[in-house]
């Protein structure tokens, strides 16, 4: 019995000792963070569909580290850093999540699936009613996506990394994943984790920003319209998805998988294919989001996240979202002055494209001040425009950043 090596027998503990104190501390921190995410997901403070699998994955990967045959530390979940084809084929037969990661995550398929599902949730009728106002707000709400780029570069990240982390300002998870996979693959794990963590916080954080920047009197504005809002039938919305998909794919072929996925979702919604709609808006969207959360959690291996850049990414991520929120509110104020007071500036926050969270936040804040004020239609228009502008910026960054 005295010959048994307990650290070798219980390798989870053994690797704590073998990896050194820094790695051990990071693993313990991530285990607790995973537990916290599960708790916050369960309490509905953060999105449970992403946070519960992510937190549990984070716990499992950091507890389940073992010593591999070569003497290195590893796990039986997946290895995101593999690039050699033969090695990849071998690992795919051992690590149970490696096929899912290789065939759906690292090529952006899961991001496209999520985007397709988001497309089925979008009613583009709101955007057709007021396209200029909605897109103007959405462009203002990309302030963080632009300003974070030079800030990140100033604090030592290269341009590709800066552009990837700046995309957090677009508040669109699949877009951040797609951009970082194309531009900064070595950092896509921490950037995507940071993005999803912060996106979960928008529901709790943005109301404070709105209350700080918009006085109660303006939050209570009830917008009046002379004409009744127009309703567009399905064939118009279908034409919208076809034409816009063609235009944007023409402009940015590098981001065409995203555009295609988004507008395919819209087309499915409007074409009346009930069974496909039920599949894409249900099992595909929720299944992909769940798998995305699970893979993100499993990717939170302490040795992958122990990068000196992680702290910078945490700061830059929150700066990007904060600046985008401020930009959206500035856009709301501009519209308020253009419309001579007949516009609620809170709608600006909905232009940050976290569909449909920010639109719900805007309506909730306005209803609290004035229960008669209904802004959800305009807020959803701005919200949908936010998705389109984020996709445009993704296209611009992927196309232009390598040339700068």
């Amino acid at each position: 019995m005295e010959n048994i090596d307990f650290l070798g027998l219980f390798q989870g503990f053994g690797t704590m000792v073998a990896g050194g104190w820094l790695l051990a501390a990071a693993r313990i921190f991530l285990i607790f963070l995973g537990g916290l995410l599960v708790y916050l997901g369960w309490k509905n403070v953060l999105e449970p569909m992403v946070m519960i699998p992510m937190g549990l994955g984070m716990i499992a990967i950091n507890c389940g580290t073992l010593i591999m045959p070569g003497g290195t530390l590893g796990n039986l979940f997946l290895d995101p850093m593999l690039s050699d084809t033969d090695e990849l084929m071998n690992v795919m037969q051992i690590d149970f999540l490696q096929p899912v990661y290789t065939l759906t995550f690292s090529n952006g398929l899961i991001a496209c699936f999520v985007f397709m599902g988001i497309g089925t949730l979008l009613d583009v009728g709101y955007l057709l009613q007021k396209p200029f106002a909605s897109l103007f707000l959405a462009l203002c709400a990309e302030l963080g996506t632009f300003l974070t780029l030079p800030i990140a570069s100033a604090i030592g990240l290269n341009l590709e990394e800066s552009a990837s982390v700046a995309m957090v300002g677009g508040a669109d998870g699949p877009m951040v994943l797609f951009t970082s996979l194309v531009l900064a693959k070595h950092l896509f794990v921490p950037i995507t984790v940071v993005a999803y963590l912060y996106l979960g916080l928008t529901y709790g954080g943005y109301p404070y920003l709105v209350k700080l920047l918009i006085p109660k009197r303006l939050r209570a504005i009830k917008m009046t319209t002379k004409k009744a809002p127009k309703t567009y039938d399905a064939k118009v919305k279908l034409a919208f998805s076809v034409i816009l998909c063609a235009v944007l794919c023409f402009l940015f072929p590098v981001a065409s998988p995203l555009f295609f996925s988004l507008f395919l979702g819209v087309a499915i919604r409007e074409s009346g294919m009930k069974h496909i709609y039920d599949f894409v808006s249900g099992p595909l969207l929720y299944g992909s989001t769940f798998m995305l959360g699970l893979l993100l959690g499993v990717l939170c291996d302490a040795k992958l996240l122990l990068d000196p850049k992680i702290l910078k990414l945490l700061v830059l991520g929150i700066a990007a979202l904060l600046l985008s929120g401020i930009g959206g509110i500035i856009g709301g104020y501009v519209m308020y002055f253009i419309k001579k007071g007949n516009y609620n500036p809170v709608i600006g926050i909905a232009a940050v494209s976290c569909v449909p969270t920010t639109a719900k936040v805007a309506q909730k804040l306005v209803s609290k001040e004035n229960p008669d004020s209904f802004i959800l239609g305009d807020a959803l228009g701005a919200n949908i425009s936010g998705v389109i502008t984020s996709a445009i910026i993704t296209g611009i960054y992927i196309t232009l950043i390598p040339y700068l």
Binding site: L128, F136, V247
Partner: protein, 146 residues
């Protein structure tokens, strides 16, 4: 650093241009949808009118009445009446009338303006009957209405 900032501003400008172009495309789609809906609704209305017209012609032929073409030849004035114009009154000018100046209280009532001859005469006939009846009732002092 400055060059990066300028590049960022350029990319921002490009995004605004593309964004507004996309907004223009969306507005174009909305405009197309509106005009299509307008034409569509009017086409339906016209088709409905044609249908009614055909039915009227058929009914007229079956009953041996004058065809709509015949009605037109007889200078059908019903459309004018429908618009509130009574051609019988077109040449009636009270004394002292000239364009743009009121000639005082009109002696005409709504019936004169909005109903054709036959309706007017029927109305007067009915009015006469009512008056006659009322007078006869007055003569009967034990009438229950009184």
């Amino acid at each position: 650093m400055l060059s990066l900032f300028i590049s960022t501003l350029e990319m921002m400008g490009l995004t605004f241009v593309i964004g507004l172009f996309v907004a223009g495309v969306i507005k174009g789609i909305a405009f197309w949808a509106d005009s299509l809906e307008y034409h569509h609704s009017h086409a339906a209305e016209l088709a409905q009118f044609n249908k009614i017209n055909k039915l009227r012609v058929k009914l007229g032929e079956l009953l041996g009445l004058v065809s709509p073409e015949g009605t037109e030849q007889l200078d059908d004035e019903r459309e004018d009446f429908a618009r509130g114009e009574n051609p019988d009154l077109a040449n009636m000018r009270p004394e002292g009338y000239y364009h743009g100046v009121s000639h005082g209280i009109s002696q005409l009532n709504l019936i004169d303006y909005y109903y054709p001859h036959d309706s007017h005469f029927m109305h007067l006939k009915k009015k006469g009957q009512i008056m006659k009846k009322r007078n006869s009732n007055k003569n009967k002092s034990l009438s229950p209405e009184e």
